[in-house]
């Protein structure tokens, strides 16, 4: 990715790919909330940035004006690529979503707990005695790649390939359209082969289950199947890896919270929700398809809107002490998994992975901190999380 030109004013020239945002977006949102809660930019061929929870919620609830047909903000508008259901709007969206929902309920995820725990333990075994590791690269990332591969019935030896695709689509590709289209093609080819293998020899994995699915009594066609499986890979890996990396970073740098969680594991469920709130990794976009107004500001058709659920979750009007992590926060309607009809289908899986990963880590490594002189780097783009996270213990 090329270096981004400096931002002259975040209210009129915002750039969520700029390193100031990637490194530390919180002061930017605080400033905008004070003086311009719906920022705009002429970059990306025109886009808006609401930073208030109420406005973000209203947009997420209004697919008639804010379409999901484009959900990534890039320097230029690319041909539409379909990843049902995330790129779909009503009325098609609901039936496509209903195909995936039963495969990802808490009850459907529970049987995978033992396997996820084994994956986490195996990773901790590799570095627990060394006294150092990279929490993002050696742990968080490895877990989500292995779990996603397991659920899709794909060899985790292909993990490097997955990581490259994600990087090409979501990071390098934001200003390289040819690369994005090439990567989509490569993924489609890969998954067509996997689908053919499952047709010949079905198993219990999600690709096999999708082959049994019906919409209006018809099986999914190849384009729908490839789109859905591609989406599961893209949506499942660096999101959860980012969320988990942020949890580790927080606990490494906040000894009081870490010790509290170790002493009282019953805090885990609210702690996970709170860390998801405070460090929400996902900002997704909409394309405006009809002129409208939200929060007193005009939104013009043809432009994009960035839905920063992370900014919504730091809005003091929605969360008292929004910039403070409160592990037992009692009231927490956070939007880390989105709001409205596109609520994250993988949310129960993500919670399970995060819970088990933290439990297994804290059981073996209750005391840890950032390495001296550590440089923490952050991903740029739609998914924000630590990519380099040197820890010592």
């Amino acid at each position: 990715m090329k270096a981004r030109p400096p931002v002259t004013d975040w209210a009129t020239d915002f750039d969520h790919m700029h390193q100031d945002w990637t490194q530390d977006p919180y002061p930017i949102w605080q400033d905008l909330r004070q003086r311009c809660p719906v920022a705009h930019t002429d970059r990306f061929e025109g886009a808006y940035l609401p930073v208030r929870y109420a406005d973000i919620r209203e947009i997420a609830y209004d697919p008639a004006h804010f379409s999901s047909r484009r959900i990534v903000i890039r320097d230029e508008r690319l041909p539409l690529v379909s990843f049902p259901p995330i790129t779909s709007d009503p009325p098609d969206h609901r039936a496509q979503r209903a195909v995936l929902l039963p495969l990802f309920t808490p009850a459907a995820m529970a049987p995978h707990e033992a396997a996820i725990r084994r994956i986490c333990r195996g990773l901790v075994d590799r570095f627990a005695d060394k006294g150092t590791c990279d929490g993002a690269a050696d742990y968080a990332q490895e877990i989500t790649v292995a779990v996603t591969a397991m659920l899709l019935g794909i060899s985790s030896d292909d993990g490097d390939l997955f990581r490259r695709w994600l990087n090409d689509l979501l990071v390098v590709g934001t200003d390289d359209p040819a690369l994005v289209m090439r990567t989509h093609g490569e993924m489609a080819g890969f998954f067509m082969k996997e689908i053919a293998l499952r047709r010949a020899n079905p198993g219990q994995d999600i690709i096999s289950r999708l082959l049994e699915a019906r919409i209006d009594e018809a099986p999914l066609d190849d384009a729908q199947l490839v789109g859905m499986v591609r989406l599961l890979l893209i949506a499942g890996i660096d999101t959860t890896w980012s969320a988990l990396g942020s949890c580790l970073l927080h606990l490494a740098t906040h000894a009081d919270d870490r010790r509290r969680l170790v002493a009282d594991p019953s805090l885990m469920p609210t702690a996970i929700e709170e860390l998801l709130r405070a460090y929400s990794p996902v900002s997704i976009a909409r394309e405006i398809v009809a002129d409208t107004e939200v929060g007193g500001c005009p939104f013009k058709a043809g432009q994009m809107v960035l839905l920063s659920f992370a900014a919504a979750n730091r809005d003091p009007e929605a969360f008292p002490d929004a910039d403070k992590v409160v592990l037992d926060r009692a009231e927490n309607r956070h939007a880390a998994f989105g709001l409205g009809i596109h609520r994250c289908i993988g949310s129960h899986l993500a919670r399970l992975e995060m819970t088990i990963a933290l439990e297994e880590w804290l059981a073996r490594i209750p005391e840890f901190s950032l390495a001296p002189d550590a440089i923490v780097t952050w991903s740029a783009g739609a998914v924000r999380g630590p990519r380099q996270l040197p820890l010592v213990f």
């Binding site: 209903a98 808490p106 009692a330 009231e331 309607r333 998994f337 709001l339 949310s347």
Partner: protein
């Protein structure tokens, strides 16, 4: 003379709003359950026994879609 009884608290799910975040089921499994798509249902007729009122309030306060309502009858 009629005897005054404390109103009975019931929880209700607004199915049009519920998107299956599942927060309610984690916070108050005695009161909520999920259907095969992962959307919430109330257990039984939704009556909240006095010892579960705090849990009911917590579940309501954590539903991101404002899909949980209280009814008193």
């Amino acid at each position: 003379m009629t005897t005054e009884t404390a109103p009975v608290l019931r929880v209700e799910i607004d199915a049009a709003r519920c998107q299956g975040h599942g927060r309610c089921v984690v916070l108050a499994p005695e009161l909520f359950t999920l259907d095969t798509l992962g959307d919430a249902l109330v257990v039984g007729d939704g009556t909240v026994p006095p010892d579960l009122q705090a849990k009911a309030t917590l579940a309501k306060a954590n539903c991101p879609e404002y899909a949980i309502r209280f009814a008193r009858d």
